[in-house]
Amino acid sequence: MNTATRVLLVSLFSTAVLAGCKSKAVQDTPPPATTPPPTTTPAPSTSGLYGPDDLDRDECLRQRVVYFDLDQDSLKPEFQAIVGCHAKYLRDRPSARINLEGNADERGSREYNLGLGERRGNAVSSALQANGGSGSQLTVISYGEERPVCTESNESCWQRNRRVEIVYTAR
């Protein structure tokens, strides 16, 4: 497969992911079409399926954090590709399990933020399932504002805390 073909297939794949509800089409495409996006990735194994080692090697699968806008729980377009490759991993590895850890920034009440974190976790869970992951592979846990990665009170810090972390509990 030459580079031009791969780029084309990647963009087709991304379009399918962006379409969301058309995820069935992705599944029906021949295996090469679901090759993960990054062109820097080493060639996939002969079967075209993800294996456990890809979680450490694959450029897309190594991205495990999805960020959100203030008070929002909708998935931003730039994170669709990440969701796409993790969904493919779940399809390729039915025994894989993911915890989706939802988080919020420090503003507002702690218990309400538990709810916000869960909404964000649910948004990623829905997107993964829309792309072929199974609900039985996914567990949403909300930490609200209790697990910040940044503790300063400013927007650059807050936006790093409004996130869902994709944590593999079984590869």
Binding site: G108, S109, L114, N122, T151
Partner: protein, 442 residues
């Protein structure tokens, strides 16, 4: 017990969780800092109460504790000890012209005597200066380690005699502390006297703790712990240390709140896929679902009569306070001012509701007072990231959490917003304050 080697921490954590908190006295305390004043407060002099026994003098300065209690209530202005020019210890020794000159309305005199068994007896009297009339004359005995309790009880009696409202100084506060960040973070559920003294550890954890709530008898705390990975709710007896896991469902297990009769627990569960308010019968553990809405419903708190539950919901788009019957049914919106009102705390008479009110990036504690009919709003805190208000049982003051200089601190503020007192843990963050119910007389 407090000087464990760090390497042994994990091995002993479980054991620690099971131990009664009384064995786990913390070294760190809370700093006290009064940041405001009230010109219309009642002037009162608390004369130092000397030890007149024949054994060893108590460590505790009873008069200074009474003075600090009355001062931070916002209702009194106490004469600084340096200005107390005469030091009577009995009513007969009071020179009234002196205190009239100093424009004092009230004066309290007393002395500390031996009570046998190493204990003490505090005798005190309260006088109206203008009428030269004795309003109170009482004596309390206590062991040496309970002298702060005695001082708070005297402050309560003075407060009630003059204002006609039960004092709430002899109460406790629960709160969460965090030391360290990220993987090194260590959390503790603490209990202290209402002035921040005498802090005791109830539970330590390497995972987040939040939302402590008192049982009406003041013997148990419900709280949220992430020690099992997901949120779960425990109820712990703070005297014996015995604890029980009461909610560990799929999804959120949050916001516990005891009913006024102590038999039920309101809580937030998202086991249905979305956060809803439930009431758990603590005997049978049976659940009654109070809300059913796709919005986030959380932070339930009971009305004093137990008939209704206030909660936060964003069913209207943004978080606001709603009320629902404790048996379920339709919810009524309660707050209409402001775009973000959350974490309601309700006064004992149901007339005042305090919330964390957000506006842009500023969150302040706001009070909605319906004593005179239509609600009147006032701001109790300056912001900018204030949260978790909690009424004292007499509604004269509130606790809340704030961030200052990058750390979490607690404030106690009078309900008229005129006096604020900062309670700062010497090391780390403090948050999620909860004011206890009244304590029963010993």
């Amino acid at each position: 017990m407090t000087n464990r080697l760090p390497m042994r921490w994990h091995a002993l954590l479980l054991l620690t969780l099971l131990l009664p908190f009384a064995a786990l006295a913390q070294r760190q305390g809370l700093e006290i800092d009064i940041v405001g004043g009230n010109a219309s407060a009642l002037p009162i002099t608390i004369v130092p109460m000397p030890y007149q026994g024949s054994a060893s003098a108590p460590q505790t300065d009873v008069a200074s504790i009474i003075r600090a209690d009355l001062e931070r209530s916002g209702q009194f202005r106490t004469l600084p000890e340096a200005n107390i020019v005469e030091r009577p210890t009995r009513g007969a020794e009071i020179q009234y012209p002196t205190w009239r000159t100093l424009r004092q309305d009230y004066i309290v005199v007393g002395r500390v005597l031996d009570a046998g068994d190493g204990g003490y007896r505090v005798e005190y009297e309260l006088f109206d200066v203008a009428r030269q009339q004795r309003l109170l004359g009482l004596a309390l005995t206590a062991r040496a380690n309970a002298m702060r309790d005695v001082a708070h009880q005297i402050a309560d009696a003075i407060y009630e005699k003059i204002l006609g409202v039960r004092g709430a100084f002899w109460t406790r506060i629960a709160y969460i502390t965090q030391v360290g960040t990220g993987g090194n973070a260590r959390y503790a559920l603490m209990v202290a006297d209402s002035d921040g003294f005498n802090p005791q550890t109830v539970v330590r954890s390497s995972e987040p703790l939040l939302s402590p709530a008192w049982s009406p008898d003041g013997q148990r705390l419900a709280y949220v712990s992430f020690e099992r990975g997901n949120s779960s709710i425990y109820i712990q007896n703070i005297t014996t240390g015995a604890r029980e896991l009461v909610a560990s469902f799929r999804g959120i297990n949050g916001s516990p709140a005891f009913s006024p009769d102590g038999r039920r627990l309101a809580l937030t569960l998202s086991r249905s896929g979305n956060p809803e308010i439930y009431v758990m019968d603590l005997g049978s553990k049976a659940l009654t679902q109070l809300t059913n809405h796709f919005g986030i419903d959380t932070e339930p708190t009971w009305s004093a009569d137990g008939a209704s539950v206030y909660f936060t919901s964003d069913r209207g788009g943004r978080p606001q306070v709603y009320r629902v019957a404790a048996t379920g049914g339709g919810a009524t919106r309660v707050t209409f001012d402001g775009t973000y009102n959350a974490t309601p705390t309700v006064s004992f008479d149901g007339k005042k509701i305090a919330v964390a009110q957000g506006s842009g990036n500023t969150y302040r504690i706001a009070l909605m007072d319906s004593s005179l009919g239509s609600p009147r709003w006032s701001m109790l805190s300056p912001g900018s990231l204030d949260e978790s208000p909690s009424f004292a049982p007499n509604a004269s003051m509130l606790l809340y959490a704030a961030r200052e200089g990058g750390r979490g601190v607690l404030y106690a503020v009078s309900a008229d917003a005129r006096v604020r007192q900062r309670l700062v843990l010497a090391d780390g963050d403090v948050r999620s304050p909860a004011w206890s119910p009244y304590r029963n007389s010993r």
